[in-house]
């Protein structure tokens, strides 16, 4: 596996900052907006954006975590059952603007499940998608992000990993390319 950093710590922070200001442009003071991170990795994006937004706005932003396990379309197509994470939404999303957040947008299937899972909590006025990384060219469904941290063009065999200071020790985005023989 060849490893290449495509977003370093400095640009990582700049990107989070930019996404926050883009969100503020659309949602003003967030009085009718809720942010929802998709379990498991989207939670890190949510945590970081929430912290920065509250720093800028000086007010609390309503946030929740959503687990999509039971809504996935690949149940029983895998060898082992999918084990759920916690959902933590203690507010009503009826008529709210919802911003779904995830770390990497690839096939779009996770987001499709996320939309289904979200509807169990009511009928939001509007749903938007924020993806920290957008891997183009391998979408299985007609789904696009409204806010994108960085767009990367990758081969299907490659893997993109978003690493977080609180988990891996350093903020960065890494592209893994499998070794080619000869």
């Amino acid at each position: 596996m060849e490893k290449q950093v495509i977003l370093n710590t400095k640009h990582f922070e700049l990107t989070i900052n930019r996404l926050c200001y883009q969100l503020i442009e659309t949602h003003n003071d967030f009085s009718n907006t809720v942010l929802i991170g998709l379990q498991p990795k989207g939670i890190h994006v949510l945590t970081r954006i929430k912290a920065r937004l509250e720093e800028i706005l000086g007010e609390e932003v309503v946030c929740g975590n959503l687990d999509i396990t039971f809504y996935r379309d690949d149940f029983r197509r895998r060898d082992i059952p999918l084990i759920p994470s916690a959902t933590n939404i203690d507010f009503v999303i009826e008529n709210k603007s919802v911003v779904l957040m995830d770390d990497v947008l690839f096939t779009g299937r996770t987001i499709r499940s996320g939309l289904d899972a979200l509807l169990a909590y009511g009928r939001p006025a509007k749903v938007e998608l924020l993806s920290f990384i957008d891997r183009r060219f391998k979408r299985d469904l007609p789904i696009q992000a409204d806010y994108v941290g960085k767009t990367v063009d990758t081969l299907i065999s490659e893997r993109v990993s978003v690493e977080w200071e609180e988990i891996e020790g350093e903020d960065k985005v890494v592209l893994f390319t499998p070794d080619t023989n000869g």
Binding site: F70, F75, I80, P81, S85, L119, Y121
Partner: protein, 310 residues
């Protein structure tokens, strides 16, 4: 450990401690689901489940059916009273006929011990035992342990006494296995005639005095007297049983600690438990029923992952 070690839930005896942990962890998520405004998830959209009840049941049958429906499975119900079983069809034939209508999973309750195991060895479907005679009732034991875990934080190290008709109770046997696998101490309490002869092989304590048993325990699981399974008289009268083994508010208040009171239902108020105890804060009887749906959803969800795709 992210997958069950078994393809069928025939009894707690076959489960590992990891299996039980996995079921509980999954049930936590389903408990959250059934408390949402929309209590349904689409996980088992493509799964069909047959509920075969060869014996009467209200709670278990409803609980299984709700669990299946909340997972979006298609459900067919069958009860022996209105079926061809009365015309002389064998169990395997009945089930195979149902399976040829493309059913993936079978939930079975049967008056004969071993019926679920017998079936699991002979049909091409995942089998869940919903009670087989006096043998096991695994989902009841799982929901009982789950309720103890919810109320007291964990099952490990807790002292649990099972009171009543141990001889005819599948709930007792499944509970003994489940509690011991999770590291709890188990005692059974009841009249000598209702304690099985070989109980010592299960490594449980035996006590014939209710107050002493309650003084020892953290949790008391009160069982019903199963008159329908008793072919001879095991005690002089229900009134006498109730005097000796009925749990009353006076006995509870007389203990120098607060214990948790459980009952798998159906309750015979005034026999094994008085109304004021059943309705008190110490009783978690209705929590058990709620948890039953979540635990059964977890069991069905985890077993559905084992269904082979064509």
């Amino acid at each position: 450990m992210d997958s069950l070690s078994v393809d069928h839930l025939v009894g707690i005896k076959d489960l590992t401690r990891n299996d039980i942990e996995l079921i509980f962890k999954t049930a936590d998520s389903f408990k959250e689901v059934i408390n949402r405004p929309i209590k349904k998830v689409p996980s088992l959209r493509d799964v069909t489940i047959a509920n075969l009840f060869f014996e009467n049941s209200t709670r278990t049958r409803l609980s299984f059916e709700l669990a299946e429906k909340r997972l979006s499975a298609d459900v067919v119900n069958f009860s022996a009273a209105s079926s061809s079983v009365k015309k002389g069809e064998t169990l395997v034939d009945t089930v195979n006929n149902i399976l040829s209508m493309k059913v993936d999973m079978v939930v079975i309750r049967h008056p004969n011990p071993g019926a679920a195991k017998f079936l699991s060895e002979r049909v091409e479907a995942n089998v869940v035992n919903a009670g087989d005679g006096t043998h096991e009732h695994p989902t009841q034991a799982l929901l009982d342990s789950y309720s103890i875990r919810e109320r007291l934080g964990s099952v490990k190290g807790k002292k649990v006494v099972i009171v009543g008709d141990i001889l005819h109770s599948r709930v007792a046997l499944s509970n003994i296995y489940a509690l011991q696998k999770q590291g709890a101490e188990v005692m059974v309490c009841g009249p000598t005639t209702l304690i099985p002869k070989y109980i010592h092989e299960l490594d449980v304590k035996v006590e014939h005095n209710l107050e002493r048993a309650l003084q020892w325990c953290d949790v008391a699981n009160m069982l019903r007297i199963q008159l329908e399974r008793q072919d001879i008289k095991y005690f002089p009268s229900l009134r006498e049983y109730s005097m000796q083994y009925g749990l009353t508010k006076e006995i509870l208040d007389g203990l120098n600690k607060e214990i948790v009171v459980m009952h798998p239902g159906p309750i015979n108020r005034g026999v094994e438990i008085t109304s004021d105890v059943a309705d008190s804060d110490q009783a978690i009887i209705l929590d058990q029923v709620e948890n039953g749906v979540a635990v059964r959803m977890a069991v069905i969800y985890l077993l559905a992952a084992k269904i082979k795709r064509q």
